[in-house]
């Protein structure tokens, strides 16, 4: 992955008379919210990237011959399953294990 952003702040470079309110990235594992999980049928996936394009959390990851969601982040909104032109994604209920 090409890195675009610089590190948020090197705290030591901040002048004493400036007080930024945030110097670290927040970490929120939104996968905890999920009620339904997207399952990708690898035989049906053609790598058209439609799921990536419309995923609000941008958690779709590329694999050699298919795309799939990063379940640590995926909130389970179901947009990928709705928009997949080849119906390769189905939403299944999350069950407690």
């Amino acid at each position: 992955m090409k890195l675009q952003a610089r590190k948020p702040f090197d705290q030591s470079t901040i002048p004493n008379d400036l007080c930024p309110i945030a110097t670290e990235y927040s970490v929120l594992k939104t996968g905890d919210w999920r009620a339904e999980r997207p399952i990708v049928d690898r035989d049906k996936c053609v790598k058209c990237a439609n799921c990536w394009l419309y995923c609000p959390t941008q958690c779709i990851k590329e694999k050699p011959a298919w795309f799939e969601a990063n379940l640590i982040i995926c909130k389970g909104c179901g947009i990928c399953a709705q928009e997949c032109p080849h119906h390769a994604i189905t939403m299944i209920e999350e069950l407690e294990d």
Partner: protein, 447 residues
């Protein structure tokens, strides 16, 4: 990696079995119209009368290639197309058995197998389909170009399921890049954690949280400072419709009149969603909100929405456009122009932004609703370029779908009666006619 491929999508509910695609396919490949030469087939279900598609899907892990004993089939890593080489083929037809989609078939006339080659990137079947049942999807181009750029928002932010704003800010920042100062006035975008809370931030670029009233004027000041020290930094605002069309309007109007250099993006979810779905001046006629309730007397909002993007065009902004996240390639193209325009003046993009929580619809339907909004002419897509006086539609406004197809998907319109729907339909028509006048005027001036 970072490689994805174009594909042909099929929407069975739009197909009427006219077979135009089959003839077009046969013609472009052999010059004849006989269906025997067509690589595509439309099959009617004898029980429910629906249509099914038999066409090569250019699979990621193709069974036909794995099963071919002669090595005559191979997947092109650049285009994704599965190629068939006639000289290597031994005519065993194992591939036709391997394919679950009837994508490679035996042609009894030529006595050879045949399969779709996507017409080299311009499929004749999708072009000829007048009903939009076959569509050539090129969204993979955006992934190939921008997919390996870093997402400048942290992975997890506390936006609702299916949040259009989250989708929008991630794509926008991916395109515009890190040399940006972002302003997020009070509203959902700030509320989901984009600005710092307790020392933590979700934005990987500098970000600040102006008041609801002064987003544009604060950005104008920041840009003037960067101009003075000689740095080219993009000023980018993500305002809600309240912070843009209501409370923030005076500072935005002033900045637009002065031609301040910035990109102002209005995420129009048609209400104050962050504070509990109150009405705003861009809430459409008839919509339910918590302050325009539905009861025995009041039936949702009684006024029409303020035409905010037209107002900004009247300010002579350098660039004004409307956008919808269902038409992402269009949005990226508009961002390109906005970035260029923001070097010398204000670029304003008004994004139609359905909200699952405030509008009462299932999150999965977000993109479908964003698409139907455009296709019913509720949200016409257009752009205005001051330099050269150009105004044009970027999605056809002719032959729109009936507005019910859009309204029926959304809970906030569930109570509408026939008169109200009629009013919305008429209002849509009137606004299109007004925009067409601009379009014709600009055309006349250009010629």
């Amino acid at each position: 990696m970072d490689k994805s491929y174009h594909t042909i999508a099929f929407y069975p509910q739009k197909c009427n079995g006219c077979n135009d695609c089959i003839e077009a396919c046969a013609r472009i490949n052999t010059g004849e119209v006989s269906p025997a030469h067509s690589r595509i087939a439309i099959v009617k279900d004898s029980e429910d009368g629906s249509f099914g598609l038999a066409l090569c899907r250019q699979c990621g892990e193709p069974r036909c290639v794995m099963d071919c004993p002669a090595g005559a089939l191979s997947k092109n890593e650049d285009t994704g197309v599965i190629q068939w080489e006639e000289t290597k083929c031994v005519n065993c037809q194992l591939c036709t058995l391997a394919c679950s989609y009837a994508g490679i078939t035996y042609n009894p006339v030529t006595r050879k197998v045949m399969k779709c080659d996507m017409c080299g990137g311009d499929p004749a079947c999708a072009k000829v389909c007048g009903r939009g049942a076959l569509e050539y999807l090129t969204s993979s181009d955006l992934y190939d170009k921008w997919g390996d750029m870093e997402d400048l928002f942290v992975p997890g932010i506390s936006a609702c399921l299916g949040c259009n704003s989250e989708l929008l800010i991630r794509h926008t920042l991916r395109r515009i890049g890190p040399e940006t100062v972002v302003a997020t006035p009070p509203g959902c975008v700030a509320g989901v954690g984009s600005v710092g809370v307790n020392g933590f931030t979700a934005t990987k670029t500098p970000v600040f949280h102006p008041l609801l009233t002064n987003t544009a004027s604060m950005l104008a000041g920041a840009r003037r400072y960067y101009n003075r020290i000689g740095r080219d930094i993009t000023m980018l605002a993500f305002g809600g419709d309240g912070g843009t069309a209501d409370v923030g309007f005076q500072s935005l109007s002033g900045a637009a009149e002065r031609g301040e250099q910035m990109i102002y993006i209005c995420i129009d979810n048609e209400g104050y969603m962050n504070t509990g779905v109150q009405r705003s001046s861009t809430t459409p006629y008839g919509a339910w909100t918590s302050t325009t309730p539905v009861g025995s007397v009041l039936r949702g909002k009684t006024q029409d929405a303020k035409p905010m993007p037209v107002l900004m065009m009247m300010h002579n902004c350098a660039y004004v456009a409307t956008a919808s996240t269902a038409f992402m390639e269009d949005y990226y193209a508009k961002l390109d122009k906005a970035v260029a325009a923001a070097k010398h003046g204000m670029a304003y993009i008004h994004v139609f932004s359905p909200c699952p929580t405030g509008w009462r619809f299932p999150p999965a339907m977000l993109i479908e609703i964003a698409r139907k909004g455009v296709e019913t002419n509720t949200v016409p897509l257009w752009e205005y370029i001051n330099d050269g006086n150009e105004f044009h539609f970027t999605h056809s406004v002719d032959n729109p779908l009936p507005v019910q197809e859009f309204l029926s998907l959304i809970g906030k319109y569930r109570h509408l009666d026939a008169d109200q729907i009629d009013h919305i339909q008429k209002m849509n028509k009137r606004r299109i006619e007004m925009l067409k006048m601009f379009s014709e005027q600009e055309e006349r001036r250009a010629s």
